[in-house]
Symmetry: C2
Subunit: 274 residues, 2 copies
Amino acid sequence: MATSTRSSKRQKTGADTAAETDDSMAYKLIYWPGIPGRGEHIRLAFEATGTPYVDVSNKTDAGVNAVMAQISEKNIGDDNNPPPLAPPILQHGDTLLSQTPNILAYLGPKLGLVPDVAEDSAGMYHVNALALTALDGLSNEPHDVHHPIASGAYYEEQKEEALKKAADYRAVRLPKFLGYFERVLSGPASGGGEWLYGGKMTYADLVLFQTLDGVTYAFPKCVDKLRSRGKYEKVFAHYERVKALDKIQSYLASDRRLKYSMGIYRHYPELDDE
Amino acid sequence: MATSTRSSKRQKTGADTAAETDDSMAYKLIYWPGIPGRGEHIRLAFEATGTPYVDVSNKTDAGVNAVMAQISEKNIGDDNNPPPLAPPILQHGDTLLSQTPNILAYLGPKLGLVPDVAEDSAGMYHVNALALTALDGLSNEPHDVHHPIASGAYYEEQKEEALKKAADYRAVRLPKFLGYFERVLSGPASGGGEWLYGGKMTYADLVLFQTLDGVTYAFPKCVDKLRSRGKYEKVFAHYERVKALDKIQSYLASDRRLKYSMGIYRHYPELDDE
């Protein structure tokens, strides 16, 4: 049974920066190399806060084997950690965590990407809900658009069904989620409409930015049309606001930002508007 | 911006039981009436711990209107709370939270359904990851089996595609997730294999129980076949272990336990094994 209390004792202080560059407590992201994918949400949390991290599969010799060892059907985990089903996986000291929104929930308080619990005890849960909702509608669903029948089969084998699902996604689902986040940004809990919650940037803002960026890559004509309707002005202004942050700008211009290709977000022109 | 610190100050004490029966701080579940659905995970957390709660749509005059008011496209939330996209919604004092795994993360420490953070600072995140994974593979995917193209259209309009997705689910996805939880229960972090994590029941155990129960309702022949393979003995023993808990037994026999019908888990014989 896990008994480490290390992470609960850690507070973000000046000394922390040094501790994090010490290899044993460095944040290590284990994710498929070469694509942004779900790992991108974790990268953005680090990049937006200037937090050092090791992108294991892209930047060390371990490469894809770092992922394969974790998700092997022979892996039953260790004394502290259940095995993960899939990447992204965060390694932090003796702790290994999987599931994108879970890793973000863990990092949120450590990186200052959720409201301070002493000031707003429910804040981190509101942020978690907003991130989960963006991941549902703007990451999981876009994935299922090109893989509606079997995630383990080729797109070409389910293209006919993908065409149908894409039509529903563009006409119904995507507008629904954009409309939802427009309402969130219009509501008083956003604290003014610049950020999703509490008047400050949280990881939910980064997730909304990244998912909308991916959706725009996958369905550029559809997003263009929706943008021109003028019904989602706050959402698109929010997207530009995140993109214009100094640290995000630098990151997007760096070689650490990987190109979309055959991951969650895929650009098949036949699945987009005409 | 939300500034309430009420919930962080609350500790589970004897006095708490009284506080929770006081209407203002009672736990209120807002979910579609008449079906177990995703709301069932919240009910089970309360039922397994003997925690009083109000099942608003089923047990008060508000009925379905309690849900409709929350998810109205005119709702922009209030000073403390962003609007929810969908139920289940938990109301606790001034706090309104949506997203099933988020509500469970909020309730976990309050109901004693996650490890004590002082003893195991990462424990609650491991529990969250396990719950998210069960919800992904044993709740969201089974839903998508009968609605592979458009969640807003009828099953009959997408039956052809559902037949294909069901075949993949039964042959590939369901065995993958059962195999994963068998490994979790085989691993040292489970603390002996009776529970998923840390040798004690957590809300992840309740989620795995409920999702496997729903999958068994939807695909009885397939689950029978998989069970008879003997490869998932720990998973099925875990299911029986949760089901045999005194409070769960009483709950399942009560009229508070709703019958499956046309929700997430649907029994269409043509989607099951022959």
